[in-house]
Symmetry: C2
Amino acid sequence: VVDSFAARFAAVRARMGPLVLGLDPARSLLETWGLGDSPAGLDHFVDEALAAAVGTVGIVKPQSAFYERHGWRGMRSLERLTSDARAAGLLVVLDAKRGDIGSTNDAYADVYLAEGAPLAADAVTVHPYLGLQAMTALVERARDGGRCVLVVTRSSNPEARTLQAAIGASGRSVEQELLEEIGRLNCELAPGRIGPVGAVVAPVLGEPALDLAPASALFLAPGVGAQGATPADVGATFAACPDRVMPSASRSLLGLGPDRLRLREGIAALAAVFRDVLAGS
Amino acid sequence: VVDSFAARFAAVRARMGPLVLGLDPARSLLETWGLGDSPAGLDHFVDEALAAAVGTVGIVKPQSAFYERHGWRGMRSLERLTSDARAAGLLVVLDAKRGDIGSTNDAYADVYLAEGAPLAADAVTVHPYLGLQAMTALVERARDGGRCVLVVTRSSNPEARTLQAAIGASGRSVEQELLEEIGRLNCELAPGRIGPVGAVVAPVLGEPALDLAPASALFLAPGVGAQGATPADVGATFAACPDRVMPSASRSLLGLGPDRLRLREGIAALAAVFRDVLAGS
């Protein structure tokens, strides 16, 4: 029997804390680090990213777009990053925000959640615009393999509020309805436990609080640091379930590089902050 | 001055008709065609797809997921397909349904819409869950390069209805609000003309008709054939703007292969049907 992703996250959290290191090698970062905005520079970034992550955090989150920018060579670097990180005991959340009709989602399940697949990760982000019910293959594959599908529910950017706050048939917002749908899926897939379908919920202040309880889920909290959210914002947003949150920071940490020591110290310091803020039960 | 995508589509439509050939090499198709579900099989599919498309249609639409399944080697095949198809005079719509926060969308603009980029296409599909206003780089790049960003607005699958029919702040549905937002963007980007932001609108019968006029846009109509929509459904859905529609069929056509003659004849026959159904002005 395979451990669930929730159990694997709990073990990593106990050892390393909940912080997720976002690995977003934007053009400006590759240039600032002196690596060059090229497939070779990106491949070098992968070495540096692994050196920074191993021993400082338990989870890394590469954003697919920054690897796709470099064509198939960039995807080859992303595959190497993913498999080397997992081999080193890190959990890998691939931030891909995929989502399509059912037959295409079946293919995405093969990409990200099939044992032995080139990009097999521990978790993958998806977007819900074509409906969660079209994601059967993804969520079943996640359950069977101890992996996680993270549904973007409330994103960190203000441009998304209009759509995410629209009102569904139940009279609740799109994002609140998604949390309830995630809860129903998790109840079916993992009765009485934290299920394989998680939610991406940004710690956005000044918006109506979401009722997180119905989801029986893990939460990825993006946007810490450069996007403006503080550890205290994360603590406040998830006060009801601090042990189920994966807070993610990328630019604010990578910006400390390329000096390896300074980068590792900065990551470790934020990891310590989140161990305290999300100490929970 | 670069021709707009709308002008380039109009030229292709006059020559070849509006049909879009979806190039979706699912596992089952690769096996049925005797190519094998492997990177080598996929690369062979690319040769067959080009042989089928050139001279029968004006537009092809590879679905990224089916290439991503084969890792970086699959992406290399997709790059070859894209560049060879464009070199042969076909328009390429990359069906990727990407969409993220602004800084990540900037990277996707580099992937799909930058001249000389590995996957540079004529159009790319995006999803709007994180907001169209976060897509500035994509839409400006599209305008400047004579390319098109196609926003998934009403998808062809029933699982999507709940979210897409939710009611926004204006009292209209998410999908109708999107059409209006697309219209505002197009007005800014290309006043008085068909703009660079298009919409994916499935010819779904039995749902409230959308008011397509505000968008000043081209429309991609997916789901013809295997997903159940008929040419007559497409004609009815877009009766007000038949000359702005790109109807897309994939499985129902590719299923005629691997015999090249039978496949080309089937594609040409459906192309002729759509030339009639969408004759328009």
